[in-house]
Symmetry: C2
Subunit: 145 residues, 2 copies
DNA sequence: AATATATACTTAGCGTGCTAATAAATTCTA
DNA sequence: TAGAATTTATTAGCACGCTAAGTATATATT
């Protein structure tokens, strides 16, 4: 059988290379891919609970927790216990975390453009559509955003 | 800006979910995704040097090294110093490593099918084509296999 | 031949993902 | 209301990716 000719395998290899490239580009800014994933969520909706971030991103609670520790150290976010439920914490962007958006936005679009140089405009749209379908498969959702 | 509407972001999220799913499925067999990546290469071409595996897969030498240690522990491969160059080692599949192929082959195809249930036959082919182009971008190669 | 450079593997340490197990707080239920 | 079950965050520990630094061997240079 041709393992190498499965979407499975192709996606795996491309994904690793993709993340590696993103890490390298973000590294210059002083940030990591997992941190960015959370920043994206907070930029969209600040002050979420950890468990809600985890659920939204389909990541395990310990993953969120560990990444947040790094982000607190970097001064990107703060944590606050809820008053009406001492189990939970809310995560808030600091000014630094908010301002980071400008720089990352530019970098993110550059990465996007570079990656898509090998595709035509039509192919980009098709790829976006197909990845969206896969995301719905993995996330078990209907279109939302 | 809509970060969430970039291929970049979509690919990142899908990739994480994809790997997570693969890990879960392979876990039942007692193997991990990084190990499988190397197995794929060895099934195609046994007895490679570590540095060649790293180059072929675009992974850093320490990554290969660490993963191989786990595979040796599992009894999937063996390491042998080259006689004519004591710096290098060749990696050989054990019988266990060879026989593993049967089980994984079946599992791999199942995962492939499940993932692609959300796509039509045409979409599958298009996705394969687009991912191939991205792979060439990241790997810096022309079609080879 | 002696030194310098390059190559290959290894070790140490980090971020991102996971599961399992703990601790604390809340909510449910009998 | 007391005890049980659930929820939330955390800690510990693993695999997989990376870079930086170290060691050993091979090759080039002088």
């Amino acid at each position: 059988m041709q393992f190498h000719q499965t979407v499975n395998h192709l996606l795996s290899r491309v994904a690793t290379a993709h993340r590696s490239r993103i890490e390298k580009r973000l590294g210059a800014i002083g940030i990591h891919s997992g941190q960015l994933t959370i920043l994206f969520e907070l930029w969209k909706n600040d002050g979420r609970r950890q468990v809600d971030l985890a659920a939204e991103l389909r990541l395990a609670p310990p993953t969120i927790n560990k990444t947040l520790i790094g982000m607190i150290d970097l001064g990107l976010v703060t944590r606050e216990r809820l008053e009406d439920d001492a189990r939970s914490t809310r995560i808030f962007l600091t000014d630094a975390g908010k301002q980071m958006r400008q720089v990352i936005e530019a970098e993110w679009l550059e990465i996007e453009e570079e990656m898509l140089t090998v595709l035509t405009e039509t192919e980009r749209l098709v790829l976006f559509d197909l990845l969206t379908k896969l995301k719905h498969f993995y996330f078990g959702t209907e279109p939302e955003e």
